[in-house]
């Protein structure tokens, strides 16, 4: 369970570039919730993600994972609780290392890193099985450098890495935004499968309203650092893009092309 309680964040306080990014945001995700987050540019979607992941400390408020306050932990200290996939396919993997080395790094998330060999023989077989489930042929390219993979392959691999050790919460930060529509579709399918198989609690930011409606059991909309809409269950299933756009305009948000086109 993820509880975000009243978090605030202002960037560059006291300067002309001051920007209130999060204003008293509160959100509770129950175990197994798959929540999508939408909103315009600068609404605070990715900022919530970064606050939860601990990229920087929030100004005030608390973040609890299974009742444990993690808001005072640094990014690497709270990494054991979260699996993360980023917007930029380059961000989630180490380009100059092999596929199996990347997986091995991820499988040691939250464990002490010792002087034992980095990739053990028996885990190699495990990785091969896992890669096979992606259906991208990566299981035969275990010693290929990740930098040689396409964006879609890298996102799929990052997804695998993020869930290799079951995280308390899976954080997906517009992880299909940089992919072509067909690849994005495939990565989303994989996401649904992995989340469904392990019943992962998931927070997924997206620009695409259709995806936000189609995936997950809950949807929140953000604007100017606040949550302005929170629907779940039947109500969410019956949402249409038109409903969302209307709702969005009511609150004075600017509708950008990407949202309309989707």
């Amino acid at each position: 369970m993820l509880e975000i309680i009243d978090i605030c964040k202002t960037f560059n306080p006291g300067t002309i570039n001051e920007k209130v990014a999060l204003e008293n945001v509160s959100l509770t995700l129950k175990d197994g919730d798959f929540c999508t987050v939408i909103g315009g540019n600068g609404a605070g979607k990715s900022t919530v993600m970064n606050a939860v992941a601990g990229v920087w400390p929030v100004d005030s408020g608390r973040i609890l994972v299974d009742g444990r306050d993690v808001s005072g932990l640094t990014e690497y200290q709270r990494a054991p609780y979260f699996g993360r996939v980023f917007q930029d396919p380059m961000t989630g993997t180490a380009a100059d290392m092999w596929i199996e080395e990347n997986l091995a790094l991820a499988s040691r998330r939250g464990k002490r890193r010792t002087l034992r060999w980095g990739v053990q023989k028996k885990e190699r077989e495990e990785y091969r099985q896992l890669l096979r489930t992606l259906d991208l042929g990566l299981e035969d390219r275990m010693t290929t450098k990740v930098g040689l993979l396409s964006g879609g392959q890298r996102q799929a691999l990052t997804l695998l890495m993020a869930t290799l050790r079951k995280p308390k919460v899976l954080l997906l930060d517009e992880h299909t935004a940089a992919l072509d529509p067909k690849t994005a579709e495939k990565v989303l399918e994989t996401t649904d499968r992995i989340v469904g198989e392990s019943g992962l609690t998931t927070l997924m930011v997206t620009h695409n309203m259709r995806d936000a409606i189609r995936h997950g059991n809950r949807l929140i909309m953000m604007n100017e650092g606040k949550i302005i809409l929170d629907v779940s269950g039947e109500e969410k299933k019956n949402l249409t893009v038109r409903d969302l756009l209307q709702k969005f305009e009511e609150t004075g948000g600017e509708v950008n092309d990407r949202m309309v086109l989707s």
Partner: protein, 330 residues
């Protein structure tokens, strides 16, 4: 001109070669240290010049204090580790940019080295102690063999270490710090660890070097970083040319040492050509520039705007000629 060439003595060059090899092998240890920060950690560490002289100072003063010449090398290594720790502390805990952190440690080491030695240079009491890494021509073969063993040993340890869980974390930190933190790696700790190991190797190299040349000088590290980079880059260019693109990591490390040896052969050769010793730093810069430029220029040959422009101009000309000919035919 003829007088100049007839004054060059091929035998002298032949005699100088083993010395160049020995020096190359010693500086190769330093190049391995530079490789760790510069290539693996992606960190331009300028502590190098200071820690090399630190290693030399500690070794010579240790010998003067009566310690075993092999044991003092261990002290040199430890002193270098401390120097790396300081740079790491300045960078990670105090948030000083990497280049500045390195320069601060380097400049403070100048004073520290003077304090350690009590004056600008100290000599190894050659008559009183037996030093195994000696430049004495009678024992040069032994020095070369011994240094080679040290180099190989370091490469093996290095290779193993970077293959471990901890070493993989260091590599990941150098490649993608964001991803590393997301996977629970304490990137600051990894940086400090790598800086410590790297400067340890550099100081060890300084210790062996001072035994080899028979003295330590507070200025012996001046420009060391450039020699280190030269070795790394020469090694990479040669490695790509000889082995190809997909290289085993141990092979790349070996080529770093080979890079240092090649550098010293060039050095010996240019000295033999009777270049003034004062111009050696200039020479180093030119050698590094040439090897840095080589891969770039090679790529330019196959893919460049200027090349495309020329090819297109040629095509356009051929087309124009073709059109001129058609009316004549009809």
């Amino acid at each position: 001109m003829t007088a100049y060439f007839s004054s060059l003595n091929p035998t002298a060059l032949w005699n100088a070669a083993p010395g160049g090899l020995a020096q190359g092998l010693i500086w190769g240890i330093m190049a391995l240290g530079v490789y760790l920060t510069f290539r693996v950690l992606n960190f331009a560490d300028l502590t190098c010049d200071g820690s090399l002289a630190l290693g030399g100072a500690v070794a010579v003063m240790g010998i003067l204090k009566g310690y075993n010449p092999e044991v003092v090398l261990l002290l040199s290594f430890c002193a270098g580790v401390l120097a790396g720790l300081v740079t790491g502390f300045l960078h990670t805990t105090l948030g000083i940019p990497e280049i500045l952190a390195g320069i601060l440690t380097q400049i403070s080491l100048y004073s520290i080295n003077l304090n350690i030695m009590g004056k600008a240079n100290q000599a190894v009491p050659v008559g009183q102690v037996t030093v195994h890494f000696t430049s004495n021509i009678r024992y040069l073969a032994q020095t070369i063999a011994l240094t080679l063993v040290v180099d190989v040993f370091i490469i093996i340890v290095y290779y193993y270490f970077l293959g471990t869980e901890l070493g993989s974390a260091i590599r990941a930190t150098g490649i993608n710090p964001n991803m590393s933190r997301a996977n629970g790696i304490n990137t600051n700790k990894m940086k400090v660890l790598a800086l410590m190991f790297s400067n340890g190797l550099i100081a060890l190299s300084g210790g062996i070097l001072s035994e080899y040349q028979g003295f330590a000088d507070v200025k012996m590290g001046q420009g060391a970083i450039v020699i280190g980079l030269a070795a790394v880059i020469i090694g990479e260019v040669l490695c790509r040319a000889i082995v190809g693109d997909r290289q085993n990591f141990a092979v790349r490390l070996a080529f770093t040492v080979i890079g240092a040896i090649v550098y010293y052969f060039v050095y010996v050769f240019v000295l033999w050509l009777k270049f003034p010793a004062d111009d050696m730093k200039l020479l180093t810069a030119i050698v590094v520039a040439v090897f840095l430029a080589a891969p770039y220029l090679q790529e330019q040959r196959t893919s460049s705007f200027a090349g495309l422009k020329k090819r297109n101009a040629r095509l356009a000309k051929a087309e124009a000629n073709g059109q001129n000919q058609t009316p004549e035919e009809t």
